[in-house]
């Protein structure tokens, strides 16, 4: 599976219509006093509106690469283009005001109120006070913090997750087309991190920024990235969408880095909404007696029948085509989840099949354990 090549595999963007927002051309960084380049001969193009995850072991050059995009670190050679403009030699301070920047734990200024923290860049860009205040309120709303409660607070009065939300709001303040994120969720507990990731994707759906995101967490890279760039000691080893990185690692380094469990990890990429599920029929509890059950089982041979309560939520199996319905527990998974979630629910409930339900809790279909092994069928019209 892993074809070992010396050349990094750079695949052409599948969304061919989207122009590249960030382009690095032959970028190299050699730190003073070092002969080994931290980043060498790097070519990387990030299409507009996509999230690219830069990942790799410590010291692989992913953070150096990120910081060269906004020239916090000056490249030794090569060119950096932003929206087609060469920014390798423009004023760095001016450039950085046009690029959102989020760091670990938010990096909020403890002596500024939340509103002032969000207003840092707009203030430098010379916005008037009224506009800055309105923008801060708008962004607090966007990241799920009530403006009237939070705008006058100080960072120390906020939890880590709230601080990180403000950090994202601050980076969005001047509505920059490009955002750079340096392990923003790295120091946050796993539960909050997961929630912030969901929210981050929600926000990205609204704002559609071009984002370069440094992480060391493969799970995070797979979950958030439209593309993943895998780095090893200053070189780009593979640049492709998460599915490809997991299933077809470009070389031994990437396959080692991705490690075991790639197949399981891939399950979280497959959304239930995109799958062809087995049909399910429902019977309301109490409407059919012993004879009714018999006819249902007889007439609907081959289709699973679930007994539902008054509001249409399935409570138990009445008939299953290939097994004893009474001995099989009924477990459900929301259709907004992934196959990973479905597997989790099945293992947890000791069930070999799971009912997929919509937001109201009504059964939409059934996923069998055997489907996982036999190959998942994707619904027509979905890639």
């Amino acid at each position: 599976m892993s074809e070992t090549t010396d050349q990094p595999v750079v695949e052409t963007p599948h969304g061919a219509g989207k122009p590249d927002m960030i382009v690095l051309e032959g970028v190299e960084k050699i730190y003073p006093g070092s002969t080994q380049p931290a980043v060498s001969e790097l070519d990387l193009a990030i299409p507009q509106g996509e999230i690219v995850m830069l990942i790799g072991p410590s010291g692989c050059g992913k953070t150096t690469t990120l910081k060269m995009i906004n020239r916090l670190i000056e490249p030794t050679s090569g060119r950096i283009l932003l929206d087609g403009k060469d920014v390798t030699h423009v004023n760095g301070d001016q450039l950085r005001r046009e690029i959102g920047y989020v760091i670990q734990q938010g990096g909020l200024f403890p002596h500024f109120s939340i509103a002032d923290n969000i207003g840092v860049v707009p203030k430098m860009l010379g916005w008037d006070k009224q506009r800055i205040r309105e923008r801060a309120d708008e962004l607090l709303h966007l990241v799920g913090l009530e403006p009237s409660t939070f705008r006058d607070r100080y960072p120390r009065q906020l939890s880590g997750g709230q601080q990180q939300r403000v950090g994202v709001a601050r980076a969005l303040a001047a509505d920059p087309p490009v955002m750079l994120m340096d392990e923003p969720f790295g120091a946050i507990d796993p539960i909050t991190r997961e929630r912030l990731q969901e929210e981050f994707l929600d926000i990205q759906r609204t704002v559609g920024k071009t984002i370069a995101f440094v992480t060391h967490d493969l799970q995070e890279a797979v979950k958030l990235g439209d593309k993943i760039a895998v780095f090893a000691t200053g070189r780009l080893e593979q640049y492709a969408d998460p599915d490809t990185v997991l299933t077809r690692p470009a070389n031994d380094f990437v396959s080692d880095f991705v490690g075991g469990g790639a197949a399981v990890r891939r399950l979280s990429l497959v959304e239930l909404a995109h799958l062809e599920l087995h049909p399910v029929e429902t019977d309301e509890a109490g409407t059919s007696g012993a004879t009714g059950q018999g006819t249902a089982a007889g007439s609907r041979n081959g289709v699973a029948v679930a007994e539902v309560d008054g509001s249409g939520r399935p409570v138990s199996w009445r008939h299953l085509p290939d097994r004893d319905a009474a001995g099989t527990p009924l477990v459900t998974v929301p259709i907004s989840g992934s196959v990973y979630d479905a597997v989790d629910v099945m293992l947890d409930g000791c069930a070999s099949l799971v009912a997929v339900v919509d937001e109201e809790g009504r059964a939409q279909g059934v996923l069998h354990w055997n489907d996982l092994v036999g190959g998942l069928r994707t619904r027509q019209g979905h890639a």
């Binding site: 906004n70 916090l72 301070d93 001016q94 450039l95 950085r96 005001r97 046009e98 690029i99 920047y101 760091i103 670990q104 734990q105 990096g107 909020l108 200024f109 403890p110 002596h111 840092v120 860049v121 430098m124 990241v143 799920g144 913090l145 009530e146 409660t149 939070f150 100080y154 960072p155 120390r156 709230q162 939300r165 601050r170 750079l180 929630r195 969901e198 929210e199 929600d202």
Partner: protein, 270 residues
């Protein structure tokens, strides 16, 4: 983002509780946080009262009366405070900018030597320095101010350097990453965050100067030391008691005031 909404509701409840508490007792809260600040002034007041009580029971002769006249004592007190204040302001004006400069990347190499010189200046006994400087230059308040300033430079210099060093690097990076220039980063982020530490150094310098200013009288610069000298020359134990009492009270009071100022600064800078 349903989770975020529930958190928002919690936060609103928090805010309501906070507002309620604020209404009930700003005074009570201040008291519970800062009641220790009352102890020192109380001791000073009681001490001074006892001193005056004792003096009022004594039969003062004409010499004692003349020396302890309010005009004489207050004049010396004023001289004393001016000496301490001027030298502390000089320390502030010199040590803080030098400290800021030393913390810049290009001057890091100078940091060690300059701090060593500061340590050297502090280690010299102020009395000796004052006398030598007086013989080398001139007797009087100007020389006294220079001597006091030199002796108190180090705490402020060192605290400025340390205060700037301990500013979280990630905040500086965040500031630069958002497009603040090096100068904006210094004045909007680094210095404000170093202020509590710098102020602590200034407090040390001020208290040092108030104490050392007592020695200024030996080179003709006046101050409360003069009262001590008069008492010794005239061999009047009552005057000596009053002089000692006032010097101690002034030093404690200044330290207390500086302490209050420090708390105000710290509470403001988050």
């Amino acid at each position: 983002m349903s989770t975020a909404t529930s958190e928002t509701v919690d936060a609103q409840a928090d805010a309501a509780v906070e507002a309620e508490e604020k209404k009930q007792g700003t005074v009570a809260r201040l008291w519970s946080q800062h009641y220790d600040l009352v102890i020192l002034p109380a001791i000073i007041v009681v001490g001074l009262a006892l001193l005056f009580l004792y003096i009022s029971t004594q039969q003062l002769d004409s010499i004692e009366q003349r020396v302890l006249e309010p005009a004489n004592v207050l004049g010396l007190l004023r001289q004393h405070l001016v000496l301490a204040a001027v030298s502390t302001i000089l320390v502030l004006v010199i040590a803080v900018p030098v400290g800021i400069m030393l913390s810049r990347r290009w001057a890091r190499r100078l940091q060690g030597p300059v701090l060593a010189v500061g340590g050297f200046a502090q280690a010299l006994p102020p009395f000796g320095v004052l006398l030598l400087m007086a013989f080398a230059f001139s007797f009087g308040p100007t020389t006294a101010v220079v001597g006091l300033t030199l002796a108190a430079l180090l705490p402020v210099l060192r605290n400025t350097v340390i205060g700037l060093q301990q500013v979280d690097q990630s905040l500086i990076e965040a500031a630069r990453g958002m497009g603040m220039s090096a100068r904006q980063t210094l004045f909007r982020v680094e210095v404000p965050l170093a202020v509590p530490v710098i102020v602590a150094g200034l407090r040390v310098a001020l208290v040092l100067n108030v104490g050392t200013a007592t020695l200024a009288s030996y080179i003709g610069a006046g101050g409360l030391g003069e009262l001590v000298q008069q008492a010794l020359r005239l061999n009047r134990i009552n005057v000596l008691l009053v002089a000692g009492g006032i010097i101690a009270a002034v030093a404690l009071l200044i330290d207390w005031l500086a302490g209050v100022a420090e708390r105000v600064v710290v509470s403001r800078s988050g």
